[in-house]
Assembly symmetry: C2
Homo-oligomer: 493 residues x 2
């Protein structure tokens, strides 16, 4: 068989292969077409066809166009997830840590402090807490409208119309009928482009005050900054616009606890005077963003949304999960994107950090309670202002560190070492204060031990500092029954 015969024979095989290839390519084409079609379905679903006004506060209207995002957002109503430290649907922090009642004596947090629930409940919960008081029967609320700022998607629209100061002015009864929708779409999104946006003035103003340009931040930074509109340390400044509790982020000197403390000291700002020790106290709010910024995830460019709103995929469409939640309840989509390890080990790593920090936090809580009672004893025995001044400042500084470390959501994970550093610094300052107090007491002729009364239960601690919780609860209940339904109804109309 010469080479030509061989080639002739092989040509049949060639034809068969050719036909098989033709068929295979045809089906590949079908597959590609199907993929492209699905992609265009996805692209079609993303195309914003906005029928609602800018700042639309009703999340369900946005949900008509973005059903996946909206449906996942609705899951923030699910309170079933329990981390190891979450015993109930909304843990009563004062019940779990009655020391806190003492630490906040004279301040509204001693009345009621519960673990935050999902964004879905933001309006419900702020109305329900005893902290916000009860505007009933022409009695004005103790809570300025500034308190609503972070609670409702109704806020951006009002601010656009009346300006930030206009929105803040007055107390709850003025705006109760306007603040109906919980935190939602308009808080973070531009209604035309769906781009992330900063809708709260305080963050824009804080950036300006620190000499930074919010216009220059990256998309990835925005995925944290929209959260930082609310999850930050803040205070109400009464000297910016007369008669207005103006919301300010105290970031001018920097974001650490010490930077912010210096800011408050320079302003001689005090949240309240402690009912027992008479110390000029600061209350840390929830400096989540500030503490997160000192941690390893922030330094690697991981944003809040990367872990709390990771991308998911449904029906060929990739989108951001708007079920904002603890990543511990969603390890596969959050942690495991980078950390290829078993869920249990990753979760245990978080608990390990929490445990180590909790040990020291409890020490500091105990010391602070003693400080307040010992200072009270010193006053009771006739201490003079000048004897107490430095001590009271120590108590302010030590409790500020405790609160900054403790008040945040997840600090001991976001930045464990910084959190423990703060607590350690607090322990050292509180101990110093106790030593000074002991000397003041000696100078007043008292060498014994100052006993800490029984504060083993929330109710005992609250009675001790003179709170009539039953009365407050009754008033709140009346407000919820009489006032809130009227507010809600006005929206329905």
């Amino acid at each position: 068989m010469n080479i030509n015969e061989l080639l002739k024979k092989k040509s049949w095989l060639g034809w068969v292969l050719f036909l098989i290839t033709v068929v295979a390519v045809f089906f590949l084409g079908l597959l590609a077409s199907s993929i492209i079609e699905r992609r265009s379905e996805a692209v079609f679903a993303y195309a914003p066809q906005i029928t609602f006004p800018p700042n639309e506060p009703d999340n369900s209207k946005w949900g008509e166009i973005f059903p996946r995002e909206y449906n996942s957002y609705l899951k923030t109503s699910d309170t079933s997830f329990r981390s190891r430290y979450n015993g109930s649907a909304s843990i009563d922090m004062l019940e779990t840590n009655p020391e806190m009642v003492i630490l906040w004596a004279g301040y509204s947090f001693s009345k009621d402090y519960r673990q935050g629930r999902g964004h879905y409940y933001s309006v419900t919960d702020i109305r329900q807490t005893l902290r916000t008081g009860t505007p009933v029967n022409d009695v004005p609320s103790p809570a300025p409208n500034t308190c609503w700022t972070c609670k409702s998607s109704n806020v951006p629209g009002i601010i656009e119309e009346e300006g930030a100061a206009g929105f803040y002015r007055g107390t709850w009864e003025k705006r109760g009928k306007q603040i109906i929708n919980p935190i939602g779409c308009a808080d973070c999104h531009d209604s035309k482009t769906m781009n992330l946006r900063i809708s709260r003035q305080a963050l824009l103003e804080a950036y300006k005050a620190a000499g930074k340009d919010i216009g220059k931040v990256s998309f990835q930074e925005m995925r944290s900054l929209v959260c930082a509109q609310c999850h930050v340390e803040y205070y109400f400044n009464k000297n910016i616009v007369e008669g207005v509790d103006y919301l300010v982020f105290p970031w001018k000197n920097g974001l650490t606890a010490e930077d912010i403390e210096r800011y408050y000291d320079e302003l001689r700002f005090t949240d309240w005077t402690h009912a027992l020790s008479r110390a000029p106290m600061l209350k840390a709010q929830h400096p989540d963003y500030e503490v997160y910024m000192t941690g390893t995830h922030a330094s690697r460019g991981v944003s809040c949304a990367d872990c709390h709103m990771p991308f998911i995929s449904e029906g060929g469409q990739k989108f951001t999960d708007h079920h904002i939640q603890s990543p511990l309840n969603n390890v596969a989509n959050s942690c495991q994107v980078c950390h290829r390890e078993e869920t249990e080990r990753l979760v245990n790593d978080v608990y390990l950090r929490q445990d180590k920090i909790m040990e020291s936090r409890k020490i500091l809580e105990g010391l602070l309670v003693k400080c307040h009672f010992e200072a009270k004893a010193a006053w009771d025995k006739g201490a003079k202002e000048d004897q107490m001044k430095e001590i009271l400042n120590d108590i302010r500084r030590a409790q500020w560190r405790w609160d900054f470390a403790t008040a945040g959501h997840g600090n001991s994970f976001h930045s464990p070492l910084e959190t423990l550093r703060l607590i350690t610094s607090g322990i050292s300052i509180a101990s110093e204060a106790r030593l000074k107090l002991s000397k003041v007491l000696v100078s007043l002729g008292y060498t014994g031990e100052v006993k800490v009364p029984d504060i083993s239960e929330k109710a005992k601690a609250q009675r001790l500092i003179g709170l009539d919780i039953e009365k407050l609860t009754e008033e709140k209940s009346e407000f919820l029954k009489k006032v809130v339904p009227v507010w809600n109804k006005s929206e329905a109309n």
Copy 2:
């Protein structure tokens, strides 16, 4: 042109392609052959052809067969690398932290404490330090032979001949002539198989005491355990073999500072009585392994060798870099194998951890210094044993935590949170002690402040606690001039 003609024409092209392929395959064959040859070169170089006895103490003999490992080992003589905290070739820790002179008053560490240099210097440095005293002119050394245990590759051979207790028995002048070679090959390797081996009894005995089987550890664990033969907390037990300072790792209750403290408490063990406070002190050695075990690298199965002796490649041969050193001086081969980030950022991350911990460490050091002086003041003013007992125990516990956190090499990187947790606990205990001391002082009629004398320099602090460093230095110098050359010479013969 029908299909047959086309095929005929194409057959020429086929032949050309065929020939090209033949040539290409030929050269590929050459390449493969070259690779295989290089591999067999490498395999040949690895093949151990041992000509020296087991436990050969002379590292250069091993180096004849393993030149790459040996040459890299020799680089442990290089002291040029400076991390941010290393200012000089062998930083004088007492010069940098004169507080340490006070913390160790009454104990040999107050005389001399320098940063460890490379393994190459282990024998030189242990001879030179003022801590080990001077066996000159028939004056016996204060240092038992147990002190050599971790310093020389001569040790495994002696232990094999005389047993561990036999080796430990007696003081330096007995074995000075035998302890010549620095830490080296025989300490970690079996001379026949080159497998890793545990040559020190203390680790084997500690495993047994803790009910664990050293025979069941993995190869990867061995890559840490050979280091753990020495880089651990240990003490000398005088009650195991009469007249012998028996080396023991106090691991029976576990590896944490608290576990080991409980072990010592149960034994009523005390390293020394503090010269100022009279507290029954513990000295932490260098609990590197124990602290490392609580960290994230250990929990991910990263061994000591992975970072301190990473694999490198030379002439087609992959081998373990025996230049044991700070990974900060070798980021590319250590950190960056897993962490794909810039060197500068990785190094800064280490510094960041060190900074946060250093802040709290300095606080604790200050508190401990005050404790010792205040306790001394209490004794001076006539305090009774029973008034002081609890306080002295507090001082013991607080300083133990400081020492455990501080004495190790790299604790603040190996396990930052555990290290800071310990320091925090120490701060809390030391503060409590100061409060109690203040009350004791008041009961003795003293309400003033106990002044801490000027200890701003090492020399001042040492004079204060009654050390005659000049005399000690002279004696040491005589020992180094007269005795050491004789010891060294005996080896040469």
